[in-house]
Subunit: 220 residues, 4 copies
DNA sequence: TATGAATGAGGGTTCATTCAT
DNA sequence: TATGAATGAACCCTCATTCAT
């Protein structure tokens, strides 16, 4: 867990209380990162020039280097911030030690909340994480993914053991199914739309758990 | 002649439907496109240099321009070829005028077959189509997407009307759910793996239709 | 900072009519354009590499793109600036509504002054305008040429009507004769040489009007 | 006078009688050179790709290399052929040892005949000779130019001495005036137009010798 | 004689980055 | 903090040329 700059550690967990910090710097930093994330998400990391980010932020390209070491460090900070917060949420859920079905429900809901909060970051993660993972600097992505997989797989397995989830399905396949199903939503989700993250979570869970087909009425 | 031919021998022998004449030119063209698609899929279109493609093909960067107009035209041909074939398959399915449930089953199965055949192209489509669609040249992507949406939505609606699919779900949400669920598979699918496309389709359909939860045994 | 400044100090201090404010930017721009024009004129536009221009300007090739959009846009600006100034001069002459002979004299003199001021641009115009005119971007060349032709032809015709110019010559031929005769001078003219533009104009006019042959003494 | 290929010497003087030679080769060679010259003249040597020439000739770029060593050798042969023929004509004129006025008349007429015969070559010469002259390979251009200058200057000087040409003009200026005046005609001349080369020569000579102004009627 | 395919040396251009002000 | 100008590496692409067939 090398960190490019020290400043980073400081605002990793300042999401809800904004202006509380006296120094304006972290706020500006966050604004710039949000701007960058938005552009990265829309155009792709590679296709995004530093100039475009600067344009959106109303400054010149060179000026960004007063705030950040490099384009890549911006990307890193965006993804790290997102993942840190995601795991805060997940860890809280896991700490509650609910049953498998409730755990799954809670994780999915938490995921949609993160999509709501970090839509851009999630979209970036989706598109870029695979080839970024190759770089040493982004090893934390791989690590997070591993934790992620472990968390979900074990939840699913607990569910199968408890006869809450079907046993006739390939667990890895199910895992991918659930995982993708949730996260890809970031590609079309627009915060402030007609569905709240919780409402979307409810519908998704309903589909994932019970399917989209009407069940044949059993006997009656 | 490095990796190119490896990927080649696998799905390279598709010209069964196209030109029976084994003219060298089209073959070489296809080989190069397959190579390019592989690299595009792995590293992203923007991050892929023409040089890298040429390396994989065992030639120099400039030599590619004997066969193609530009890097972009390679991308275009890759996507077009894929979509053309996809719609061949879909249209055949639709022409059969099956019931909604069977149509959905057939479309999903066909989709996984396309993923099997054009994994790289699908992955590229997934990652790049959004921002490519802005360009006039790639307008066909938008058009295809529109047809796609219409096809799936109407199938789902027919199913709801026929009381085959649940009526309590937002249809657009369901559409996105099913669509994404299927296509994202391209991001992890590896042809020649332990599951055949049909087997994966079967399991996916089972999850999508009936959910992953065990149904509370009625009566007993 | 090699040759650029040499050529500069010579005709570089022209901004008397433009912006009195000595903002650095426009000056730099002009310096670079003068450098580029010099190289274009000497080696031909196509044979001139952007790197050569940069070398002459004492910078790297890429740096030119901070100031200009492209090599072509440099060419465009060079030609446009020249033609704008040329027409400023011509229009002033025409506005004076002199007789045909005086008009011709004034136009020729003005032309040599422009050659003196914009020798490089004139040389470029001479060599490249024909095939540039095909491009939409350089349509202004064709337009200027049309105005040019109209101006000269009408002056000649007025002169013929007024029995100042010979009537036994093909007017178009005469037009080309005068036009070429003047402008080709740019190919050998060197500013600061032994003849001032006005002196050259005088001699040229003498040849054009009265010929190089000694007239048979008419009776006396 | 180095020559790239031997074949060259053979068709230097075959212009009028085409198919007389048994071997078709030289004819093909000449055709290709004519094609090349046309394209060079229209688009400029540097802007002309070998492919364009080949297109015009109905073959592939590589095939030209069966006939010629290089693009540059084509250019060389085009210019050499033209200059050889030009000097044939000039030398004939000079051998006649006419008076200065008749010599000038004959040289100008001969020049227009060459323009008629080798329009493309003349245009190329006009545009490219300056920067080609720097290359060792094209030293013959400089040499020819020197001879040219000597010929014209001495003719003019003889004329001044014989009180046939005006003495009040700078001879070098007059030389350039006459020279340019004639040759630039290649830039607009179209063979087969309404004026024959001889007719154009006559009018040009009239302008050059007597001017375009009406002489003030002396006494009467 | 001509083709098809490839080479390899640039050429124009982009862009992340630097740095003096 | 931000700007303006420049760097330098890399990128896409072009093109004269080669060569086996």
């Amino acid at each position: 867990m090398r960190r490019a700059t020290d400043a980073q550690d400081h605002n990793g967990t300042v999401p809800t209380k904004k202006q509380s910090q006296v120094t304006a710097a972290p706020t500006r930093r966050r604004e710039l990162l949000d701007t960058a994330a938005e552009v990265f998400a829309e155009q792709g990391y590679n296709a995004t020039t530093v100039r475009k980010i600067a344009d959106h932020a109303g400054m010149l390209a060179g000026s960004l280097y007063y705030h950040f070491d490099s384009k890549e460090s911006m990307l890193e900070e965006i993804l790290r911030t997102f993942l840190d917060e995601l795991w805060d949420g997940y860890d809280t859920v896991l700490a509650a030690e609910l049953g498998p079905r409730e755990t799954l429900r809670a994780l999915v809901t938490e995921s949609f909340r993160e999509i709501d909060r970090h839509r851009a970051a999630v979209a970036i993660y989706q598109k870029e994480s695979r080839h970024l993972a190759a770089q040493q600097r982004f090893a934390f992505l791989t690590e997070s993914q591993r934790k992620f997989e472990k968390t979900w797989l074990s939840t699913l397995e607990r569910g199968v053991a408890a006869e809450v989830f079907r046993a006739d399905l390939d667990v890895r396949l199910t895992y991918r199914f659930v995982r993708d199903t949730v996260w890809v939503a970031a590609s079309w989700y627009r915060p402030g739309g007609q569905h709240s993250p919780e409402e979307i979570a409810r519908q998704y869970l309903s589909m994932v758990l019970d399917g989209i087909a009407i069940r044949p009425q059993p006997l009656t």
